[in-house]
């Protein structure tokens, strides 16, 4: 792959809080048009990495390059902002605005489109995410899955080229987790954006991603295809990937030591 095939390149990214280093030199290259998942245990800095990329946090050092232009350059940052959308862990929907108003907000504030056009595009985005019937509902009156779809509708209404997903399945049950990852896969193919997802849901991420990376202790411990990740025997990967098997083994040991009395 040549450099132009990568829409986003992260090099030596470092970020700390109050003297505690969270990211310790992250290197990452995200291929254009792919679903790229960053896996890792909780508290390893996945969300911090995404927020640095999304320009919500300012990195201490390192560079983030979007289509060959470093985001330190204000013009490049502005261009990136226009072409990128961010899906927050808690959806970050405006609770005082209806679903339609939430979707219309980025168009109203960042484009010079007329009212009618904004209404049409917003309604279309809601329709594409099967949310048209809920246009007048406030986010607080929607289910968790619907809120996620609404947040995605708001993210795609500006037709971004890259969408950053911060723990899109946090706090959801397995069925809803599958639904959210299916949604990401479905709409990524439909709208052809590049999806950068940070998650700790390994099986779902491996099923939908084109590339995965493992972030452990502030560094990328592994990067490759889901197939290679599943087959890898690297200790960092196996420890995280096979955590369920490890749990089974621990439970078996506990049960053999303390057999049930009844």
């Amino acid at each position: 792959m040549t450099t132009t095939d990568f829409v986003l390149e992260v090099e030596g990214l470092e970020k700390g809080f109050d003297g505690n280093a969270v990211l310790k030199g992250v290197n990452l290259r995200v291929p254009r048009g792919s679903i790229f998942s960053v896996l890792g245990p909780s508290g390893t800095g996945k969300s911090v990495l995404l927020k640095c990329i999304g320009n919500i946090l300012v990195p201490d050092s390192g560079s983030i390059v979007f289509e060959g232009r470093p985001l330190r350059d204000p013009a490049a940052r502005e261009d990136f902002r226009k072409r990128c959308s961010f899906l927050f862990q808690g959806n970050a929907l405006f609770d005082s605005l209806t679903a339609l108003e939430n979707v219309a907000l980025p168009l109203e504030q960042t484009t010079s489109l007329g009212k009618v056009e904004i209404f049409k595009r917003s309604l279309k985005a809601l329709h594409q995410l099967e949310m048209k019937d809920f246009a007048d509902r406030y986010p607080g009156r929607l289910s968790g899955g619907m809120q996620k779809r609404l947040a995605l509708a708001r993210a795609i209404v500006t037709q971004p080229e890259i969408v950053l997903f911060d723990e899109p399945t946090a706090g959801l049950d397995p069925l809803r987790r599958n639904a959210v990852f299916s949604m990401i896969a479905k709409y990524q193919r439909r709208f052809r954006f590049t999806a950068l997802v940070v998650t700790h849901d390994v099986p779902e991420a491996l099923a939908v991603s084109d590339h995965v990376a493992l972030l452990n202790q502030g560094r990328i411990a592994y990067e490759g295809t889901p197939t290679a990740f599943a087959a890898s025997s690297e200790s960092g990967v196996t420890l995280f990937r096979d955590s369920v098997e490890a749990l089974h083994q621990n439970l078996a040991a506990i049960r053999s030591e303390h057999p049930a009395t009844s």
Binding site: K51, N55, R81, F86, F88, A92, L93, Q109
Partner: protein, 258 residues
């Protein structure tokens, strides 16, 4: 002790500088915000219309109390005829801008600080920034502009209702001649008094709204608490700082006019 004093002083200077930059950025963001008039109208409604009943009640009762107390003080000197002067100048120069501002801080200001704090906590402000929307322009600037309109208007309403309250207690209940009361009002209030009233009201409006906005917008900076507690702490700080600032600013502006 010297070190602590130095740190406190530096902290105050840093916070004042930060607050000034915040206000400057908020006003400058006006040019970058689309559909601003609609947001200003909404802010005028939230600050003005919603607080109207409170302002009206406090205005009438302030006038009633001024009429009652003023009558008993002036009657000692046989000067009941000056009741209109006392009520009108007290209201126009001091009571109306200060009390209206304090009422607005308590109702609209606290609600604004809490709203911004929740929006900060739930990443709604971060979401605006990632969308390329200037959060200060979208959330704060309309309120600041609305405050310039609402606070003077509410102070004017306060004056009118306060004068009526003063007339009610002085003339209707205590027997001061109505013509004497209203002619004293007319003679007492000059253009410079009205200018002082509106200048104070506008200044209090901008200052208190900016403080409430600053506290709510930076609710996440609170190191001693987080989440809902941080929002409640920032709201309390917003109301306390705004109220104190209104009174301090009142003294400073008054000293220029006297």
């Amino acid at each position: 002790m010297v070190r602590q004093l130095g740190q406190t002083t530096l902290g105050i200077v840093r916070d004042t500088g930060d607050f000034t930059l915040f206000c400057g950025r908020a006003f400058l963001s006006v040019s970058k915000t689309r559909r601003l008039p609609r947001r200003i109208l909404r802010a005028v409604y939230e600050q003005g219309a919603v607080c109207l009943p409170v302002i009206a009640i406090v205005g009438v009762f302030t006038g009633l109390v001024l009429g009652l107390q003023g009558y008993h003080v002036l009657s000692r000197f046989g000067s009941e005829g000056l009741l209109g002067t006392l009520v009108s100048l007290s209201l126009v120069r001091e009571m109306a801008p200060v009390l209206a501002a304090l009422m607005l801080v308590g109702q609209a200001g606290s609600a604004f600080a809490a709203e911004l704090g929740i929006q900060r906590n739930t990443e709604q402000i971060a979401a605006l920034e990632t969308m390329g929307v200037n959060s200060l322009g979208y959330l704060v600037a309309p309120r600041l502009i609305a405050a310039l309109l609402v606070f003077p208007a509410q102070a004017a309403l306060f004056v009118v209702l306060g004068l009526w309250g003063g007339s009610l207690s002085g003339s209707v209940l205590l027997g001061v001649d109505s013509g004497v009361y209203w002619s004293a009002v007319e003679r007492a209030v000059e253009f410079r008094d009205l200018r002082e009233c509106f200048l104070k009201a506008a200044s209090f409006g901008v200052l208190s709204t900016a403080i409430c906005a600053y506290m709510g917008y930076h609710a996440d900076r609170n190191t001693s608490s987080a989440g809902a507690r941080a929002v409640s702490a920032s709201t309390t700080r917003a109301v306390v700082f705004s109220s104190v600032t209104v009174l301090v600013a009142d003294y400073i502006i008054s000293s220029f006019f006297i």
